[in-house]
């Protein structure tokens, strides 16, 4: 199936969990994740079932004024 990660189309095996996606993308630590604009707490990565077309945001600390 397809989801978008940070605006980029990304293919995933069916029935993937967010944890599965994260293992595949392996973003640098630390990061935070939102699914369809809702923050997914770290503890819930495993149980968070992804659906086709989900919009995943993975963000990291960045410089800011």
């Amino acid at each position: 199936m397809f989801v978008t990660v940070n605006g980029q189309k990304t293919s995933l095996p069916e029935l993937s969990t967010l944890a599965g996606l994260l293992r595949q993308v392996a973003p640098a630590f630390p990061f935070a994740v939102a699914r369809n604009e809702e923050v997914v707490p770290r503890e819930s990565y495993e149980q968070c079932r992804l659906q086709p077309g989900d919009a995943i945001e993975i963000v990291h600390p960045a410089a800011g004024g």
Binding site: G7, A32, R42, V59, A62, A63, G65
Partner: protein, 273 residues
């Protein structure tokens, strides 16, 4: 410094400078600038790509040991700012958020409407909101009514370094809400700007461009630290009131070669009136 520290949302701060972490030429310059500035907080943002390569930005922040204040810079609506704040809370594990809702992409001014809406929502969600706002009394009143415990009025548009360009209005805001902590955020370009707003009674200054875009950011950081401390002391020390008429500091009485024989020949006299 002998006086009680600035306290925001119950947290006593060790200094009255907040420092931005953007637009430094390298991570090491940023680290040295932080050490020189000795800020109470560092502002950061959340972005899709990792911060600084190599020594990650995250380690740099943790090693600095400073309180982190994530921002919602670039957000153009209340919704976007709220979503970004939630990500920031998850990422930085902090309730603090520097709320920015940009109303115009040319002058980057705060959007009074989106700002208040976002503030109401964020306070409801348990955030400690540091709103980047204008010197508009009505907007500020609404932010306070929304539950903000600090205001962060701009001195001038972000990154212009013009310093306080609406001084009378900014001072009137300060005097209008004497008990509300206020940090001047945006548009400070020189140490004297920071010193001046502190003399007006503002509680602190948030700087970024003025330090990061100086030729020697580390020296500039320490200059700002001195300026903020100096302005605060100037405010507390009860400065003289500006006069229209000149007054000689040196006493007139007893000038040699004058015919003014009032002064007793040799009686020692207190000179300072």
């Amino acid at each position: 410094m002998g006086e009680k520290p600035l306290t925001l949302y119950g947290q006593a701060l060790a200094s009255r400078m907040l420092l931005g972490t953007a637009r430094y030429d390298s991570p090491s310059v940023l680290v040295d600038a932080i050490a020189a500035a000795d800020p109470a907080m560092l502002t950061v943002s959340v972005r899709r790509q990792a911060g600084v390569a190599g020594r990650t930005f995250w380690n740099l922040l943790r090693e600095s040991g400073r309180t982190i204040l994530p921002n919602t810079a670039g957000c153009l609506s209340a919704q976007e700012a709220v979503k970004t704040a939630c990500l920031a809370r998850e990422l930085f594990d902090t309730k603090r958020i520097k709320l920015e809702v940009i109303g115009d992409e040319v002058n980057l001014q705060p959007d009074p409407f989106g700002l208040v809406d976002a503030a109401i929502e964020l306070v409801r969600l348990g955030f400690q909101v540091f709103p980047y706002c204008t010197e508009d009394w009505v907007v500020c009143r609404r932010l306070l009514d929304a539950g903000c415990e600090v205001l962060m009025p701009w001195a001038a548009p972000i990154g212009t370094g013009q310093g306080p360009r609406n001084p009378r209005a900014l001072r009137e805001l300060r005097d209008h809400l004497p008990t509300v902590p206020m940090i001047v955020d945006a548009g400070i370009g020189l140490p004297s700007h920071a010193c001046q707003v502190m003399e007006w009674g503002f509680d602190g200054v948030l700087l970024n461009t003025a330090v990061s875009r100086a030729l020697d950011p580390v020296k500039m950081a320490s200059a700002f630290a001195d300026a903020i401390r100096s302005g605060r002391a100037g405010f507390k020390a009860g400065p003289m009131i500006s006069q229209d008429i000149a007054t000689s500091s040196t006493p007139e009485i007893g000038r040699p070669f004058t015919l003014d024989s009032t002064a007793p020949a040799e009686a020692p006299m207190l000179t300072s009136p």
